[in-house]
Symmetry: C2
C-alpha cells in the first residue's frame, strides 16, 4: 500500500485503473493489450467460475473443449458472424521460427513454414463448434446438445482497459443445439435467468434483463438477450449475453437432424457467455475511495484477523486465540486469514485489507481481550464496534449475510436514483452528460434513429427491458410511434 | 456402441485410437493437429484438475493467468528455451481480416494489419512469466512466488495422436521464484512428489521418479525431474515433469532480489507441469479389449444402475428403488447414473458402460428383486455376482476401494513383469522389440552413447531413477565406467 487512490469524484476512470493495480487484481503485460490476472484477482474469478459452473451443470450442461484456432474457411462460413469479428482477429500464418542468419542468438519467422490456410485465434467459437456438431447430429435422438466451454478468446483491441476491454480475455461460452425453435428460445432465456440470478445473488449487482436492438445484437444471432448493470458513474455495463442463433449456424454448416418420421430439418442454436469483464463490473458496482469492496459470497478472504500486542506473552495468547477462531470460522465455511506478519504495523494492515475489500476485519487487541472483547470493522459501511467473544461466531456469520444484502440494496438504490424517464430529446442531450444514468425513453424502433442519437450523444440503447414499460408513445427523437420505453445510456 | 474394438494384441495403437473415439473421450477437429475433448473425456480431465488444484493449493500455490501470446523478443531471451521450441511455434503475424475484393463473402488477411513484432502462441510460459516477475521482485520479502496456471499451449506437431501428441493441449504450469538454490531444489522435488502421489493414488498408475539425462532435459532447465509410467505395450510414457531452472530465466530477464543486507542476487526458479497427456496414460494403463477401465477415484460415473423389467408395474417398482439407491449412494459421495432409457436394451447398455469404463454396474432385475437381490458386475475383473440389497451400500463402497487398489496392484505387477536387468548390448538390441519394457542398464553418462543407442534401437533413457541401483558397473554400449543403472525404453 502506497499513497491513496484518486477519488471517484475527481476522476472515476483513473480511480478504477489505480484500484485494479493497487488491490493486486491485474496488470498490463509485456504483450500489447493482454493482461496478467494476479493471484488475488484470479481467486475472485475462480469463485465466480465455481458458482457459475455448478449452475450450468445443474441446468443440464456439460463442459468440453474445442480448438483455439479456427481455419479461415470455417470462420467465414457464417457471413454475419465473420464480418462482425473480422476486424479484430489475431491471425496465425506460420508454424516455425528459425535462427536469424544475420543476428546470432535471434530468431526469425521461417518463410518456408507458411500455413496453407491461415488460422484465426478464436474470438468466439460458434464456427469451430458447429463444424464439430455437424458430425454429432444425425437424428432427434442426438438432441439437445448442451455444452459449455471455459476458455480464452482473443479480440484485437487498440484501446484496452484491465478486465473491461483486453485483447485476450477469459470467459465461458455455452453452445447448445435443439430440435425446435421453442426449445432453443427456452434455453436462451433460461441461461439469461442463470446469469441474472448469479449477478444479483452472488455479485450483489442488480441487473436489468432485456433484448438488444438490432444494432447491438451479436453478429450471427437472431436475437440477443442481455443483463445490463449500472456502474457508479452512471454508465451501463453489459454483464452477460444469451443469444438465440436461430438456424443461422446450422445453415452455414449444413447441420440437419432427422425427426421420428425421418424428415430432415435444420437444427436450432443458442450461445451464451460471461467473461472476466464481470470482474470490472464487480469492482465498479461496490468499491469506494479506499479501495475494493467485495460481496462476502465472492470474497477469497471473508474475515481478516489482525493482532495488536506489545509483549511476547500477549503475542502468544493472541496467536492461540486466532488459531481457535480460524478453526471455528472454517467449521462454518467462513474463510479467514490471520495476518501475524511482524514486518507490518496494524495501521498498514488495516489500510491494506480495506484496499483489498475484505468484508469483515477482527482486531485482536491485548487490552480488549482482558475484557473478553474484540473489535469488528465492516468494510462496506466502515462501522466499528466491540463485541463479546462469546457471540463472535454467530455474529460474524450473520454479519456476512447482512453485508451481502446491504451491498445489493445499496446498489439497487443507486440505480433507482440514477434512472430517469425522459420524453424530450433536447433535454436528454443536456442531461446525459451532466447526470449520467439509465434514461427510459420512447424509440421508434429504427436503427437509423438509434445511430443518430448515438452519434450526437454517445448514448446507445442498452436494452429493451423484458419487464419494461410497454405502453405506446412517441419516439423522443423522431416523434414516430413507439411500442414502449427502452434504456438509453452511455456504456462501457 | 457399434462393432468391437480392435484387440490390443492385434494392433495396440489402433486399439487406442478406436477406444478414444468410441468411448466418447475425444476426436480430431477441423483444425489440423487440434483435438476436441468431448464431454465424457472432459469430465475425467475435470476430476484430475480438481484433485491436482487442491494439492497445489495445499502446498502453498495460488493460481493466476498470463497472456497466451509471447512477443518474439521476449521469447528469444532465454536462448536454450527459445531454441528448444522454435521449430514448433504457431506465430501470429496479423491482427485483422478484410473482405476479399475478388471473392464476395470471403475474407483475406489484411496486409496493412501486419504486427510490428510477431507474437508466439505460448508453447510454455517461462518467458512471459519471468518478464512479469521482473517487476514483482525487488527484495527477499517478495519471495518465494508460488504460482500455477491452468492454460492451453500450442506446440506445432506434424504427426498427432489424441491426448498423447496434439498441437494444442491443456495443461497446468507452475512457475516459482526463490531466494536460494536449496529452496528452489526443494520445491522441484516437492512437486515431483505431488505428481507421483497423484499418479499412484488417484490414477492407480505406478510411476518411477527420476532425473532426465541431458538429452531429454527441458530446454532452459538445469535439471529435469520426471515421473515415468509403463503402458500395456511396454512403452514408457512421461507423465509429468518438474524442472529446476537454476538462474537461467532470472539472468535472461535480469531478475534480481536484494537480501536483508541489500546485496543483489539472481533469483532461482522452478517450473512443473502435467497435461491432458495424462488422459492417454490413464487409458493405456488400465483399459482392455472391451474398452476403458477407470479407477473409481477418477470416474465421472462410479456406479451405473440398469433396469430389466417387462411389465409397467415392474418398471415402477424398479424406478422407485433406483431413486432410493441414488439418494443412498450420493449420501456416501458415490456418483451414480440410473439409465432408464427406453430406447436401448439392457445388453446394449452393458456393453456401452463397459466401453466407458464405469467401475461398478448394478442390474435391477424384476426377478432378482423378488428375492431382495441385485446383480453386481465389476468392470475391471468382469466378475458378476448377486448380493442382498441389505448389504448393497457398504458392499459397493468397499468394492470401489478394492477396485482402485486392485488396478494399482495389477499395474505394478505388469511393470514388474516387464522390467529387466540387462548388461549385454547385443541382447538388448534383440529383446527391446521382441519384449518391450523397462531395461535397467549401465550407461557411461555421455550424450554420445545415448544418441547412438537411440539411433540403433529407438530406445531412450527414460530417467535415472531416484531410488535406482547405484552400484558401479560398465556401460552396456561402450564398456566405460557407469555410476549406476538407468532405464532404457521406447517411449510415447
Amino acid at each position: 500500500m502506497s499513497e491513496k487512490l484518486t477519488k471517484r469524484s475527481e476522476d472515476y476512470s483513473k480511480w478504477y485503473n489505480e484500484l485494479v493495480i493497487k488491490a493486486d487484481l491485474a496488470e498490463h503485460s509485456g504483450v500489447k493489450g493482454c493482461m496478467v490476472i494476479k493471484p488475488y484477482g484470479f481467486a475472485i474469478w475462480e469463485k465466480m467460475k465455481e458458482i457459475l459452473d455448478k449452475k450450468f451443470k445443474e441446468t443440464g450442461h456439460s463442459n468440453a473443449y474445442f480448438p483455439l484456432f479456427v481455419p479461415k474457411s470455417l470462420f467465414e462460413a457464417e457471413e454475419k458472424n465473420a464480418e462482425g469479428f473480422a476486424k479484430e482477429c489475431a491471425i496465425v500464418t506460420h508454424y516455425r521460427l528459425k535462427s536469424d542468419p544475420n543476428n546470432k542468438g535471434k530468431l526469425i519467422v521461417d518463410p518456408e513454414a507458411k500455413l496453407e490456410e491461415e488460422l484465426i485465434v478464436r474470438p468466439t467459437s460458434e464456427a469451430i463448434i458447429w463444424n464439430t456438431y455437424k458430425s454429432w447430429i444425425q437424428s432427434y435422438r442426438d438432441l439437445p446438445i448442451l455444452i459449455n466451454q471455459w476458455a480464452n478468446v482473443v479480440r484485437w483491441e487498440m484501446r484496452t482497459r484491465l478486465f473491461l476491454r483486453t485483447s485476450e480475455f477469459l470467459w465461458q461460452e455455452g453452445h447448445t443445439a435443439h430440435a425446435s425453435k421453442d426449445e432453443a428460445m427456452i434455453e436462451t432465456t433460461k441461461m439469461l435467468e442463470v446469469y441474472s440470478e448469479f449477478a444479483e445473488k452472488y455479485m450483489a449487482m442488480p441487473v436489468i434483463k432485456g433484448v438488444k436492438s438490432e444494432n447491438e445484437r451479436f453478429a450471427g444471432a437472431d436475437e440477443t438477450f442481455c443483463i445490463e448493470a449500472m456502474m457508479q458513474d452512471g454508465k451501463a455495463l453489459q454483464a452477460g449475453t444469451s443469444h438465440f442463433l436461430g438456424q443461422n449456424f446450422a445453415k452455414a454448416f449444413d447441420v440437419k437432424y432427422a425427426d421420428k418420421e425421418g424428415k430432415l430439418s435444420y437444427v436450432w442454436a443458442t450461445s451464451w457467455g460471461v467473461s472476466t469483464r464481470l470482474m470490472g463490473a464487480l469492482i465498479m458496482t461496490h468499491s469506494d475511495d479506499d479501495g475494493l469492496v467485495l460481496p462476502p459470497l465472492l470474497s477469497p478472504i471473508q474475515v481478516v484477523i489482525i493482532p495488536i500486542y506489545k509483549s511476547e506473552e500477549e503475542r502468544k495468547k493472541i496467536e492461540d486465540l486466532a488459531s481457535e477462531m480460524t478453526t471455528q470460522f472454517n467449521s462454518k465455511n467462513i474463510s479467514v486469514k490471520f495476518d501475524n506478519d511482524d514486518n507490518r504495523r496494524p495501521g498498514w494492515k488495516f489500510a491494506e485489507y480495506e484496499l483489498k475489500g475484505v468484508p469483515v476485519r477482527i482486531t485482536l487487541g491485548a487490552r480488549d481481550l482482558l475484557e473478553n472483547k474484540v473489535e469488528i470493522a465492516r468494510r462496506d459501511t466502515k462501522e466499528k464496534y466491540s463485541i463479546n467473544i462469546d457471540v463472535l461466531y454467530s455474529h460474524v456469520e450473520n454479519l456476512l449475510i447482512e453485508i451481502q444484502n446491504s451491498l445489493f440494496l445499496k446498489a439497487i438504490d443507486f440505480r433507482k436514483q440514477h434512472t430517469f424517464i425522459i420524453d424530450d430529446y433536447t433535454e436528454f442531450k443536456n442531461v446525459i452528460d451532466k447526470n449520467p444514468g439509465f434514461y427510459l425513453a420512447h424509440w421508434d424502433g429504427t436503427a437509423e434513429t438509434e445511430e443518430k442519437i448515438k452519434s450526437e450523444t454517445q448514448a446507445t440503447i442498452r436494452c429493451i427491458p423484458l419487464d419494461g414499460d410497454q405502453t405506446e408513445g412517441k419516439c423522443m427523437f423522431s416523434g414516430k410511434k413507439s411500442v414502449g420505453r427502452v434504456i438509453f445510456a452511455k456504456a462501457y
